[in-house]
Amino acid sequence: MGKTLFDKVWDSHVVSTIENGPQILYIDKHLIHEVTSPQAFNELEDRGIPVFRPNQIVATADHNTPTLHQDQPIKDELSRKQLEQLSENCKKNSITLYELGHKYNGIVHVMAPELGVTQPGITMVCGDSHTSTHGAFGAIAFGIGTSQVAQVFASQCLLLTKPKSLRVTVNGKLRNGVLPKDVILYIISKLGTNSGTGYFCEYAGNVFEDMSMEGRMTVCNMSIEMGARGGMIAPDETTFEYVKGREFAPKGEEFDKKVAYWKTLPTDSDAKFDKEYSFDAEDIEPMITYGTNPGMGIKISETIPVDENPSFKKSLAYMNFEVGESLINKPINFVFIGSCTNSRIEDFRVAANYIKGKKKAANVTAWLVPGSKQVETQIIEEGLKSIFDEAGFELRQPGCSACLAMNDDKIPQGEYCVSTSNRNFEGRQGQGSRTILASPLVAAATAVEGKIIDISKQLN
């Protein structure tokens, strides 16, 4: 029987198998940041264990960083200390760190692909559940807890039981105004938030084949929101072209050799998956969420469904929405375009293209937070910044920002925020805040109109 893309990458990284137990899986690249690494460094130090392969670790500061005045000392004492500790730990252990202000600094899942750290066929981990993003390259990439961060520090390996395989196929032609974010929100709304638990998910079909790397990253990023530890897309010419020439990508002959290997990775035609789903691209419309988990999504033109489950009702009560209600024309005061899901250059191009010549509604606070310094530079160089400035949008400096509101970028109590991030959990964007997930296009349109509109009607 043939092998899946996931099987091929996994099997080539198994160091050994414990009888009736997990496998030792070798990890090629380990990404770290300030929030989930300090306790792991402490643990190693307490136990007198050295970092085994510091050259395979890349560090950045992103979760807890301000998006204004990054050149000045951080005001919040705890945040400042956490960043100082990251710097000290990296220095002590000879780990490359792209700290705040560095030209390569950014959200871990934006900067690593940009630098060519992310490559097909490798295994990658990070103490962050959205590490699934890197699966867009045909890598096995997944989020881990801090105890596992310590394990990788100590041994460059993890003890894991091989997950089951799942494939989601989407074929057909996407409608006008339907972006990769809508595709993944649609899939999660159909499958629910725990359908992928215990699985690694491969996305297949012409919809993903036709997507840019940025789009594929948006899709794989949200795999964890249906419970899947990771998502993967077969590497192809689009992937190779993206990786080529980047800072840490293989060069010259070595690159050609790698490409020859990467071409062997896609799933064999006779491979079997443990679970399969397929969807028709024509059925997907611009999406929006109405509840407090990412599976609670509808087409923007639909109404909130009926459900008698008490947890569903609790969720609607938190959002102050009613069963059967449409979200069209809901006034919105906050819009956030950013996060590891949608803060790449393509996302800002989509937003700028819509915003050009228009003005932000007076009631709206609109934050645009690039995923990295490189994206920020590109926004300025391509002239997008002036479009945003003229329309009254506020371009901030890179970081995770209002996606998880660890820094000062918080949405006030009771306010709705149309957000391009990945989670609409209670209080995720600030205590009492109400998050509505959407694509950068829907977010931009909301900011201009000051309310949710049916973008598909406007486009067609």
Binding site: V15, S16, P38, S155, Q156, L159, T193, N194, G198, L404
Partner: protein
């Protein structure tokens, strides 16, 4: 890591589905750089109102209920990979979480911190939840060796699954680092001959 063999305790019923790790410990409390003290803020925004006053409607603030077992709704621990969630729950005093479904990363984090995730059937959970809610003095017995969870002095019990390796770790208080470091030579040999 603390050893775990058996536990008899009362339980606290958290009758909510899809409890995500942002609810268990909100992001604003993740600025600490050690593992201790997160219990003060476990379920912070459900336990307290925004003005800092206690939300008496929340089960953790209901003095009727006590114990070191948390009985929670389906799909517990989804969302962020923050191990702070497992630290917060153990720091508060829980040693076992019972649910009909756990998110992968949370489950792994719990096991790495001596917190036992006991996955039971939906029917068992529903029965258990109802008994604990209606009688806060209900005693549960969790036997890891035999992989059985039961309600004391009743017929209600169910077997639960756990990875054999993880079970040994929990019973003996071992963690994965010990195992991995003892296999360094094998890891180095793998590095020398890897095919990709």
């Amino acid at each position: 890591m603390e050893k775990f063999t058996t536990l008899q305790s009362r339980a606290i019923p958290l009758h909510i589905e899809n409890v995500d790790t942002d609810q268990i410990i909100p992001a604003r409390f993740l600025k600490a750089t050690d593992r201790k003290g997160f219990g003060d803020n476990v379920f912070r925004d459900w336990r307290y109102h925004k003005d800092g006053t206690i939300n008496t409607d929340f089960v953790l603030n209901d003095s009727k209920y006590s114990g070191s077992i948390l009985v929670a709704g389906d799909n517990f621990g989804c969302g962020s990979s923050r191990e702070h969630a497992a630290w917060a729950i153990t720091d508060f005093g829980f040693k076992v979480v019972v649910s009909s479904f756990f998110a992968d990363i949370f489950k792994g984090n719990a096991l790495n911190n001596g917190l036992l995730p006991v996955q039971v059937s939906l029917a068992f959970l529903s029965d258990l939840m109802q008994r604990v809610v209606s009688n806060p003095e209900t005693e549960l017995v969790v036997d890891l060796e035999k992989q059985i969870i039961s309600v004391k002095d009743s017929e209600l019990s169910e077997n639960f699954e756990i990875d054999a390796y993880k079970k040994t770790c929990m019973i003996n208080g071992y963690d994965d680092i010990d195992y991995l470091i003892n296999n360094k030579e094998q890891i180095e040999a793998f590095e020398a001959q890897k095919i990709y």
